[in-house]
Amino acid sequence: MKKNKIINIGHGNVNKFSIGGELPLAFVGGPCAIESRDHTLFMAEAISKICSKVEINWIYKSCYDKDCRSSPKSFHGIGLDEGLKILDEVRNSFGVPVVSDFSNPSWAKPTGEVCDIIQVPAYLCRQTSILKSAAETKKPILLKKGQFMSPWNMKNSCSKIESFGSEKIILAERGTFMGYNMLVNDMTSFPIMASTGYPVCYDATHSVQLPTSMGNISGGQREFIPNLVRSAVANGINLLFMETHNKPDEALSDSNTVLDIKYLEKILLQAKMIHETRLEILKKYGKDNVHV
């Protein structure tokens, strides 16, 4: 069990905060893909208002290139240059840190120059060239756990990143394959991944995904998002990730799992309260002490 590491988020003129250990829960949200400049700014403003009301630190998430879509006909993304320009505008307009994933090592440097966090997609979580390029940005890395990975095997990916000189990692659970077209959520993955000392994140919207269940696109059971969020936060996480959209049915990516923004405030309020209660419980009754 490693000592908890604290990760500092934000560079330049954005809201700066830290996550990890017993610090407050933070939130990552936004549409899966950047759909347009106007929609991105609209979503950033809408989520910003909710997070201010809830009093939770947050990071805007949207990707410029969706390289793992099931179908060649699906929206692939707005592109690196245009996407980063829009994300930079979000940072400057709302003072919110931003995150995007990247699927090609050559995209890491420009992504890291704009984004406050650089995200490694789940399917690429053990690709050495991707992890190396992410580490070289020196930005915190949101490392998604592959659906095919055990939580303990994520230590290998962390070791790779550490070997490239970075110890700024956040480990994200996003569901684990159970047979075909089905994900399950194993709540023991949080303490297992937290034993690395790195903060852990729960990606609630991808966790309810049913990969490629609709033939050439992925389905999902978003009705379980609140239940799973409550379980994960009570278990112990540092960061909550939920893709959020104003019109899920029209979302250009992950429309079957993205959370309708009308539900966001209620879920965040619950998550924040559960997180604070968990910390109070641990303070009052002591940390877990059941061992092998």
Partner: protein
Amino acid sequence: MKVKKVMLNINQFPIVNENTILKETLEEMDKYGIGIACIVNNKNHLIGIITDGDFRRKLLKVQKPFSAFYLDYAIDHAIISPVVCYPKASLIDSIDLMGLKQVWDLPVIDDKKKLVGLLHLHQAISKVLPK
């Protein structure tokens, strides 16, 4: 005779660090054919030991999959306050200590807790047995 004369030197026995996983620790022990690994921090201070016996007991107790067990850090399964001896200690006293504690090896540390060697029972006994 002093321990210093008989002990294995730093490059003659398994030494791992606090980031070493159990799989690599076992490989290191196997490489030297010695049933103990000393765990040191970045200042080379001894922070724990793990032995064949510890692995045996863990195998009977730990229920997690092997793939997870292998990836545990050795320090998380280590004895963190092991019995040790010092370079200037008498060899006979140290062998007595091994008998008393029923151990085959004693890490040798200096007065700053820095690991400087390992007293292994085979070498120790061979020095005191009549030729």
